[in-house]
């Protein structure tokens, strides 16, 4: 046990790396499926919906865990501007991890599509059928996804900066 007081708890670390893989996969599946007309299209859309629901459940657990067990403090000598950027970007990530599955679910509801996950589980609509609402949510979904990808890149860049250049305790606290 190295520096137990300065690590995220085990659940937080597990959720972080699991969701990192899922979110990254989702971003690539999402941008890939809307750009193809091949038979992969249908399979990718089905997987996208299923992973989306998994992420929604996991991020809820993760938020509760974070509230119960706050993360370790950032390095004391980190400049204030970087501390602020770190805090803000983490809340943006949380917000987007909630918003994207919810907007996706809502947009399928508003379009009047059946919402099927894991092959056969039918989810209820969370909005009434309304084509104009669908149009807005569909665009919102794309904009938020691109924002999530940009935030992910910033997060990855910052993690590598901490790990390779500052060589501080930030990355060790998450592994």
């Amino acid at each position: 046990m190295i520096r137990p007081a300065h690590r995220f708890n085990l659940l937080a670390r597990l959720l972080h790396w699991t969701m990192a893989a899922l979110v990254l996969a989702m971003l690539f599946i999402g941008i890939g499926m809307v750009s193809t007309i091949s038979p992969r299209y249908h399979a990718l859309v089905s997987i996208h919906k299923s992973i989306g629901i998994v992420i929604l459940v996991l991020v809820a657990i993760r938020l509760i865990n974070r509230l119960i067990s706050p993360p370790p403090p950032l390095p004391a000598d980190l400049p204030a501007s970087q501390k602020l950027a770190a805090k803000l970007s983490h809340w943006v990530l949380y917000l987007l991890m909630f918003a994207l599955p919810l907007v996706g679910w809502a947009m399928l509801s508003a379009a009047g599509y059946p919402i099927v996950v894991f092959g056969s589980l039918h989810l209820p609509p969370i909005l009434p059928h309304d084509a104009a609402v669908f149009a807005i949510l569909r665009t919102t979904h794309t904009v938020l996804a691109l924002l999530l990808f940009a935030t992910f890149l910033a997060h990855l860049g910052a993690a590598l900066f901490h790990a390779l250049i500052r060589r501080d305790e930030v990355l060790p606290s998450m592994v």
């Binding site: 007309i37 056969s120 665009t139 390779l164 250049i165 501080d168 990355l171």
Partner: protein, 374 residues
């Protein structure tokens, strides 16, 4: 993970960020490369680095161009239509072929849908239209729904999405003449004998006088999954029970612009119209390619009866804001290896997305309804 070392030691006397970055150019470059590679992969998967790859947006762009520009708010194809409602009752033999809930015993399944003409012009004259379609949404109580979009053509003119796209491009009017370039279409046809064969079938067929006496084909192959798990490649037809009639071209040309819709409204006002759903079972070796017709002796199974007892214009009807995505399938029906439905699903979703974000003018046939109150 590299360089996990000495977090505690390095922390107290770190110089400022700018100095740190200056002292670690190689590491900084490595981070930049990782980020650039991730962003480039994302762009590649999204098709941004391969503009020649066919995306659903390319498809709709090409269709809009071929149509002389988009008709805001309307479907990019099959633009002129009318909504309908009715019910479907499955046959006993259907239940042996597919476990889909729509075929369940004793069920009258609620149906809504849309008749349309295939052209992208929502105000086209009916007499200029050679392809009609029926889109259906079958919603059994408490069970998954089934959507289909089926055409009155003898198969499709192409078997691959790429050929469909090439055909659209070859049909696009030349900006100089306002008409498609015959040389481009000839070049397309020389590469696509399946389209030549389709056009010959189209020429040989008799065009039904209206929507009610027309029959509509799935065109694509799907798999019916039986209760015992057996999967069979099938196509199906909504076979009109109405007596077939055809109109001489001169008679058609003299008809009003919306005569197909006027006739349908008048027909439904007199009572329900019915179709038999007939499934055709493929034999091993039958081509699962939409442009190829299966031999006439293939086993045909009566799957049930569709009754339409109400029609209503799009603005107030139940079909305008529905995407009749042919891959909204219930358990008991599955996509086959026919590539067309996958492309249709992807392309319809772009059409749906575009038209729902636009302001739509009233449909050609507006404020009309006939038949039973829904």
């Amino acid at each position: 993970m590299p360089d996990q070392a000495e977090p505690a030691k390095s922390a107290p006397d770190l110089p400022d960020t700018a100095t740190l970055l200056r002292r670690n150019p190689i590491r900084l470059l490595a981070i930049g490369l990782v980020l650039a590679a991730t962003a480039a992969s994302f762009a590649y998967v999204g098709g941004f680095l391969t503009p020649q790859r066919l995306s659903p947006n390319h498809f709709i762009d090409a269709m809009e161009t071929a149509a002389g520009g988009p008709h805001a708010g309307f479907r990019r194809a099959h633009a002129k239509g009318i909504c309908f409602a009715g019910h479907f009752v499955g046959s006993p033999q259907a239940r042996g072929l597919s476990s889909a809930a729509v075929f369940a015993s004793g069920q009258s399944v609620s149906v809504s849908g849309r008749f349309a003409e295939a052209a992208p012009d929502p105000f086209a004259k009916d007499s200029s239209e050679a392809v009609r379609s029926m889109a259906l949404r079958l919603q059994p109580a408490g069970a998954p729904e089934w959507r289909m979009a089926i055409n009155d053509t003898p198969g499709l003119h192409v078997s691959t999405p790429r050929a469909f796209y090439e055909n659209v491009v070859a049909s696009t009017p030349d900006p100089a003449t306002g008409k498609p370039d015959p040389a481009k279409m000839q070049a397309y046809l020389a590469r696509h004998p399946e389209t030549v064969a389709f056009l010959a079938r189209m020429k040989a067929r008799l065009l039904a006088s209206g929507f009610a006496d027309d029959s509509y084909n799935s065109v694509d192959g799907f798999l019916f999954v039986a209760p015992d798990g057996a999967r069979r490649l099938v196509r199906w037809t909504m076979q009109a029970e109405e007596p077939f009639a055809t109109l001489a071209p001169a008679v058609r040309d003299a008809k009003p612009a919306n005569y197909m819709f006027d006739d349908l409204l008048a027909r439904i006002a007199k009572g329900p119209v019915r179709w038999r759903m007939i499934a055709t079972l493929a034999q091993p070796g039958d081509p699962n390619r939409a442009a190829e017709v299966w031999p006439a002796d293939r086993q045909r199974i009566d799957m049930g009866e569709l009754t339409i007892d109400r029609v209503e214009s799009e603005a107030t009807g139940n079909c305008q804001d529905i995407n009749f995505d042919p891959l909204v399938l219930p358990p008991g029906v599955a996509p086959s290896d026919d590539p067309i439905p996958f492309a249709r699903s992807a392309v319809y979703s772009v059409s749906f997305r575009r038209r729902t974000s636009e302001h739509k003018a009233p449909s050609a046939v507006a404020n009309e309804s006939a038949g039973a109150r829904s």
